[in-house]
Structure formats: C-alpha cells, structure tokens
Symmetry: C2
DNA sequence: TTCAAATGTGAGGCGTTGCTCACGTACCTA
DNA sequence: TAGGTACGTGAGCAACGCCTCACATTTGAA
C-alpha cells in the first residue's frame, strides 16, 4: 500500500546532465513565479525536455523542489562556516548580525530561487522538510555560538531569540526583494539595526 | 471586452441573510485552511447552500474574500481609533507599540479569519487590494501620529519604519498563532521589545 | 390571487495540473 | 552486429476547482 514508485537514478552522462538542467530550470522558475505557480510542464519546457523525462528521475514535483533545496543547503553551509567562526568575546552580536544579513543577501542575489525557498515557506512534503533543515542550518550553529559566548542566557530565551532573528530576516529580505536597489539597501540597514538592538539587549546585557 | 458580469444585490431578507452566512463561512474556512486551500464548494457546503447561490451575489471567489476583508477593515478602524489617540509627548512609542500588538492579538483571537488576512498576503485581485487598504488603515494614522510627535524625522525614514513595524508584526503574529498559548505570549513579548527598541532609536532620539 | 422578479439549486462545462504509459531512440557491452 | 538496458517523448488520463446555466421555488406588489 501507498508505496511510492521508485525512480531511476541517472547512470549515463546524458541523463545526469538532463537532471542538472531540470534542477536549474526549476530553480529559475521558482525565482520567477514562486512555488505556488510552479508547474511540471513549465519546468520541462524551460529545461528543453519533456515531462516524461522529469518523471524518469523524480517521483513527483515536490521531489524536484526538495532536490533544489538540498543543493542550496550545501551552498549555505559553506557560507555559514566562514561567518560563524567569529570570537564573540571580541566582536559584538551586532557585527555578527550584519555579516549574516549581508551574506544571505549575496547568496540570494547569486543563486536563482534561493530567496523563494528561504523566505517562501509552505511547500509541502519533502521539500518543506528540506527547507526546515535549511533554516536549522542557520539557527543551530548560530545558537551554539551564542550559547558559548553568553552562557547565562537560558536555552529558552536563546531559542526565542533565534526565532525572532530568522522570522524577521525572512520577511524583510523577502519584502526587500520587491523593491528597488536603494530601498533594498535601506531595508537591510533597518533590519540590521533592529536585530542588533534586540540581540544586544537580550545577550550583551548578560555578559558573563 | 473583459466586462465582468454584474451580480445581483441581495434585496430580500432571505438573500441578505444568506450572503451573511456565506461571508461567515468564508471567514471561518479562511481561518482553518487559509486562502490557498479555500474552495468555492467548501464555502457553499459550510454555509449550507449551493455554489449557485454564491454566484448570485459575487462575481467570483476573490470577491467573496474581498468582502470579508472589507468587514474586517470596519472592525479594525474602530479599534485603532481608540489606541491611536494617545499623546506621544507624555507616553513613549514603546507603550504605543505594546498597545498595538495587544489589541491586534485580541482582534485576531475574536475574529475568525482576521489573522489569515492580516498576516496572509498574496491573494490576488480585489481581495489583495482590500488587504492592502487594511494595512494602510494601520500605517497611515500611526504614521501621522509619529509625524506630529517627531517632526524632525524624515518622511522617508518614517515610511521605512512603518514597513518594519507592519512586516515584523505580521510574521511574528502569524508565527505565534502556530504555537501554544505560553509561547505565543513570549513571542509577542519579544516583538514588543524589539519594535520598542527600534522605534525608540529611530524616533525618541530625535525628539524635537 | 396572480405573476414577474428575486432567489435557490447542482449537474456539468471548461480549463488546468500532476502524472502515466506505450512506444521510440541512444548507449553500451559482447 | 545484436540485443538488452537506459533514456526520451508527448498524447492523454484523472482529479480538481471555478463558474455557468437551465430549471425550480419563493416572495411581494398589484
């Protein structure tokens, strides 16, 4: 019952290339129209292939998106390793937040579809799970870093703060994306200020 | 071309009652499943009537939602008139933000569907326009109040601050709604703190 | 009471979308 | 060169959602 049809794994170069093209097409369309309006036919068309080919390698539409997200997670993890290796005893949370926002913006600008995934939310199935993991990829190392630097802050308080940071960042980056370059910059500026003030109050004040 | 079919306006009590029931059903379903999963058949079924009846009085699904939103605007306007008649020379923006968050929460709790509309975004057509108006209903009087109290803050800066307040409030109220009562309370607490800090920095500092 | 206007109904038209399947082509090994 | 496997294709199926329309019922003014 309810066993999902297993799909072929691409063995020849030809099909591996095709899968890559399909994923690129999906990412581009995600950027352009978002998840809701993303259709399998559009992906096939953009990839210059047929719908049948998609279903040779993916069990359903959601799985294509899940795979796209998995790719983003790799890129994000590499990025975070750089900026989250700061010594918070020297610098402040303010600087950390600024680096985070700037780097996320760069990643989003360089990676079609990343913004839609990071800020988008509400696909279902495995794509949603993968997107949640992507969020965890940010939260957990950041949380660990803060836990070490500010041991007097409770786990619960830190958990709340992480929620504030991610949710606020997601909307405002998403909202910024709709505006012109200048306004985008301004919004990110305000975001950094707001998060900086908030985190300083919640963490710096309790500096051990 | 493209002329939208005009619909009947309910003249008899019977139909007026039916329209009210349809709107209530739509609001409830909006609360339960959100706009994306809202179907005309579900509205009819919940309202205990037939799809045909809906289309007697509404040109399309979106118009039903638009009408629901119009109802919410009325309630919101009444609410805002109370809390936005404060003298900012006496109290601070912090208190204003706290009152705003608390009252929005109360309204959302007492009004099925209000949360989905306020935080939801992205319907299309007239419902989206109406939802934008609902947002303006908050922004404009608040902006005017701040303009009067802090004349040294530029229009542009105030516009940005309003964007920060509304977007942040929307996500966090929305996110809070998924959590248990206690966490909801905590999130609102953090929201008030964060907005309070931000607005104080952007406004109080320039007190004329 | 009469009848036109208002209202109520729901089967089904129509367009869309995810996905299948039967068939054809490319590749690879022997 | 043969034949098996991997891959490619796109017409079309099934499900679903919005909305229409032909017909039935109720209302209220004359």
């Amino acid at each position: 019952m309810a066993r999902k049809t297993r799909r072929r794994r691409p063995r020849q170069k030809r099909s591996q290339q095709r899968v890559a093209t399909i994923l690129d097409a999906a990412a581009e369309l995600l950027e352009e129209v978002g998840y809701r309006a993303l259709t399998t036919n559009a992906i096939a068309s953009r990839a210059g292939t047929s719908i049948g080919s998609i279903y040779q390698f993916f069990p359903n539409k959601n799985a294509v998106v899940a795979e796209v997200v998995r790719g983003f997670r790799g890129q994000l993890d590499r990025l975070l390793e750089e900026i989250l290796t700061v010594d918070l005893a020297r610098s402040s949370v303010t600087g950390l937040v600024e680096a985070l926002v700037d780097n996320l913006e760069e990643l989003a600008a360089a990676t079609p579809g990343f913004g839609s995934i990071f800020t988008g939310g509400k696909f279902g199935g495995s794509a949603e799970e993968e997107a949640l993991e992507l969020e965890k990829d940010i939260i957990e190392p950041l949380s660990d870093l803060l836990a070490e630097a500010y041991p007097d802050v409770s786990d619960e308080q830190r958990r709340l703060a992480m929620l504030m940071v991610t949710e606020t960042t997601k909307v405002l980056m998403s909202r910024a994306a709709q505006e012109d370059r200048e306004t985008q910059q301004e919004i990110r500026q305000e975001l950094k200020l707001m998060l900086g003030l908030y985190l300083s109050t919640r963490f710096e004040a309790k500096k051990g």
